[in-house]
Amino acid sequence: MNRMYSKKIHILIFLLPALALFCGVLIAPIGASAYYSLFDWNGFGPKTFIGFSNYKELFTSDAIGFLKALRNSLLLAALSVFLQLPLALGLALTLGKKIKGERLFLSVYFMPVLISTVVIGQLWLKIYNPDYGILNVFLRAIGLERWAKIWLGTKETALGAVFVPTLWQYVGYHMLLLYAGVKSVPPELREAAMLDGATDGQVNRFIVLPYIKPIIRISVIFAVTGSLKSFDLIYVLTNGGPLHATEVPSTLMINMLFLRNRYGMGSTIAVLLIVLCFGFALLISAIFREEE
């Protein structure tokens, strides 16, 4: 059998489709994007080599507003790590200690993750609708008329209004990962600590949390890279407006490509996003390793 299993031709045939698909759609395009980012190019005409001018323009031009978009997505990342994850962790710890209705709570909390972001976005558009949206209707009903706002259309409130559903939708996802971790803590560890008189809080702090640290790390990485990449909900709710108040790198990239036909600049944003995602993933891993 070993001889049959070592034949080069078999290895090649079994691997070829995967390699072609993977390299063709994921790996080669990274190189191609990096290459395009050095050109001024409208997608069909001739390309003009301009070196790192796109990068320079991106970081210095106020008209494009990349730094602001980046700041928005970093703010989302921070909120995700310091608000969404603690909430998810709290739910996971609570559900993880055999509470009545555990399955029901878990399944419902995870549900928003499965619903298409476009659907969620459309629902929230209706919730925020200035005239008929239930948020303003509710505020008027309880006599807080003056709090009613054009949530998505006002510069001051739009960013917050976009962040709320974005953070809400994925609480269940992080909760599920962390819950799986909490459930994998060997019951003996928990019991031993309880016998020694540890309270619930102490068990969580000294037994469960250290045990699920690798999963917390994964959650933090997903929260940060997911925020950097965020697109769908913002595209549906505001598409970066009003006046770029809710712009994030992805919406900016799509606008560069398909509204302004600046393929070089769009590629530049794509490259920066890849670098940022990998950079943050490595940085977060390093921070977690440092702590050990």
């Binding site: 395009y36 399955r103 419902v108 972001t117 209706k126």
Partner: protein, 277 residues
Amino acid sequence: MNNNSKTARILIYIGLVFWLLVNLFPVYWMFTFSLKNNAEIFGENVVGLPHHWLWSNYASALKTGNMGRYFLNSAIVAVATILITLVVALMATFALTRLIWKRRKTLNKFFMLGLTIPIHASIVPVYVTLSRMHMLNTYWALIIPYAAFSLSMAILVCTGFMNEIPRDLDESACIDGCSVWGIFLRIIVPLMKPAVATVGIYTFLQCWNELMFANIFISKSALRTLPVGVQALSGQYTTEWGPIGAALVLATFPTLFIYIFLSKKIQESFIAGAIKG
């Protein structure tokens, strides 16, 4: 002490039920307003059950809004993507776990890079390539990228399962005169059913809900998938919310329906996709 823990318990439940409602309410609201007319949605009956169940909203979403067509497109793209992903991933996993060669660990790590590569990375080059090959506005424009981006997760899951299949099975099949293909197709693949289900579900959800590629690679309205179709429809019906609600329900229903019956399996597939063995 006893009293204290009882209050704590009640508080915990209040919190849990509150979050339950926060998650259920949008879906409940969507179902109810999909069956109401504007008068009810806009004032008479904002959050209650509909007074008159207006199924005609669904008829307009399907007919005028073309939701049936989008639904079919999404289904075609999803099924084709799942099939391709599975075949390619099972073959690759076989080479990565069974066949004997030097760099297979390295190659496995290479495939795992795909778990972190954002789809943004490939948007421009894939768009340019598709347009040069005149493949924009075809199902393939979505199926191929979706399959490629599902591949890493599929290989990850399949590797876990395939490693559990004892090698003795391969040995005895070989002695019985099976070829490599015979072993793969008759012994290994039939034993991979749990992995196939996990990968299938995960891939289905990814492509059913995907917006960015679907929005850019498809501009012909007859080929739109559900997320793009829903977007288009809501632009069409800005003042009438009932049909939009119906479209939202139609787009969500299959997912929730599967979820009701397979909630555990779906949750497992998400956990498997995130946490490397």
